[in-house]
């Protein structure tokens, strides 16, 4: 699965990425040194989406039920972590450096969301043997 991630990173211009389901990493290309960012951002993104959903829930009374926020960013210094919410409690988190094109990364990853979901579903249907 990390092969798919590598390919997506190449197209999106991101440094590394990970697929995380129910806080369990399914696949990751974060190196050992970078994993602190994955761990921290995973917790942060979970809370960020929680806050977002809560804010949306308070709005529902006055608005049509709108779509949820499915993309969140966290910028730490010059480092940016981008997170997409997929189906089934799955998050796709990627990290992008200072001089990379964020807009391109957003577009490429958004375009790949369906494929990522499929990959995750296929993987959870046939869990890899250990």
């Amino acid at each position: 699965m990390s092969k798919i991630l590598r390919k997506l990173e190449g197209m999106a211009g991101t440094n590394c990425s990970a697929l995380v389901q129910n806080s369990q990493s399914l696949a990751t290309t974060f190196t050992k040194e970078e994993s602190v960012y994955l761990k921290l951002s995973l917790q942060a993104f979970t809370l960020i989406f929680k806050h977002a959903d809560k804010a949306d829930a308070e709005k529902v009374a006055t608005h049509d039920i709108a779509e949820k926020y499915d993309e969140a960013h966290l910028q730490l210094g010059q480092r940016r972590l981008i997170c997409f919410r997929l189906e089934n409690n799955t998050l796709y988190i990627s990290m992008i450096g200072q001089n990379q094109d964020v807009h391109k990364a957003q577009k490429v990853i958004r375009g790949a969301v369906n494929i990522l979901s499929k990959v995750v579903n296929a993987a959870s249907a046939h869990p890899p043997k250990v």
């Binding site: 602190v36 960012y37 809560k54 926020y69 960013h73 730490l76 210094g77 964020v102």
Partner: protein, 331 residues
């Protein structure tokens, strides 16, 4: 005829146009127009093309002065000038406006934008407007550069004073021994004296009138003048609202939660760089973004069409100029 060139760069309002006009022999090419987007402590005119001036350095040598437009939306001009017009310049002078909220960040920014250019040329930092804001002071700047491992002269100047600007130029061309600086200084000072009492019908007078200071508006008013921003809230250090475009803005609570979360991350992982921005997006929803500084944060609600970069540029600019922050911190 020997000719020298120097290039002035720096944030909008740092005094590039002023500095070049102050010492130029010729009428400066005027590409300044009224500022149409957000203005806070900012002035009303900005350079949209480039600045150009010329100063005779004696019988057979001349100095060409080039200035970039400060605003990032004219960045294509920077590339053009660096690669073409000012490619053979012998020095780059970076003007830093000491009244900006985070002047050191400007140093970082221009260092990274012009790095390739700087390494091959003389590099000088000139701090302007320190009469309006005394800190950071010279020692603060020196320490900052030392920490970054950068060797560059730092001069505190008033860009409106010809003697100050000339000092800069002398420093930029210090390897040139055959220039009679005393003569140049005398000439420049005489011109300045003449210009001090301008004829009300002269172009100088028109220019002085045009660049007078303007009334302040709040960071929120400025934000709401930007196309694509539909809501804005300015929070203080304690995450209380300083000002908002709308008291009952639905995302106000979300802004606060996100700002608090950022602070929590910082205290949990102090070894990492601080959180500068958190944002939320969806294809057909307004984006919610919070931009954080040590002493303030800004929440913005923006149309989905606005790119992340556009939002960030606006926010960083607004935070640099916001006038409700205590200016105690140094970066």
């Amino acid at each position: 005829m020997k000719s020298y060139k120097v290039l002035f760069v720096g944030s909008p309002g740092s005094g590039k146009t002023t500095a070049i006009r102050t010492i130029s022999d010729v009428e400066v090419v005027d590409t300044d127009t009224k500022v149409s987007d957000s203005t806070i402590k900012r002035k009303r005119t900005t350079t949209v093309g480039m600045d150009y001036g010329k100063l005779s350095l004696g019988e057979d040598s001349v100095l060409h002065l080039y200035g970039t437009p400060g605003q990032e939306r004219f960045k294509f001009m920077w590339d053009l000038m660096v690669s073409d017009l000012a490619n053979d310049a012998s020095a780059l002078i970076l003007l830093i406006d000491n009244t900006r909220n985070y002047p050191f960040r400007d140093i970082d920014y221009y260092l990274s934008e012009f790095w390739d250019y700087i390494v091959k040329r003389h590099f000088i930092i000139a701090v302007t407007r320190s009469d309006l804001m005394a800190s950071p002071n010279e020692a603060d700047y020196q320490n900052y550069l030392k920490d970054k491992g950068i060797l560059a002269p730092i001069l505190f100047i008033d860009a409106r004073k010809s003697v100050d600007v000339l000092d800069l130029v002398v420093s930029a061309l210090n390897q040139e021994s055959d220039i009679d600086w005393a003569e140049v200084l005398h000439r420049v000072a005489m011109t300045e004296l003449k210009n001090r009492n301008p004829d009300p019908n002269s172009p100088q007078f028109e220019w002085l009138r045009k660049t007078r200071d303007v009334p302040k508006i709040s960071i929120i008013e400025a934000a709401m003048q930007v196309r694509g921003i539909s809501g804005a809230t300015h929070l203080n250090k304690e995450f209380n609202t300083i000002d908002t475009s709308q008291e009952d803005l639905e995302c106000n609570n979300l802004f606060k939660s996100l700002a608090k979360l950022a602070a929590a991350i910082k205290s949990k992982a102090p070894q990492l760089e601080p959180v500068r921005n958190i944002s939320l997006h969806a294809p057909r929803k307004d984006s919610v973004s919070v931009f954080l500084e040590q002493d303030q944060s800004l929440g913005l609600l923006t149309l989905p069409a606005l790119t992340h970069k556009q939002i960030r540029q606006q926010a960083e600019d607004l935070l640099q100029w916001s006038d409700n922050v205590e200016n105690t911190q140094k970066t």
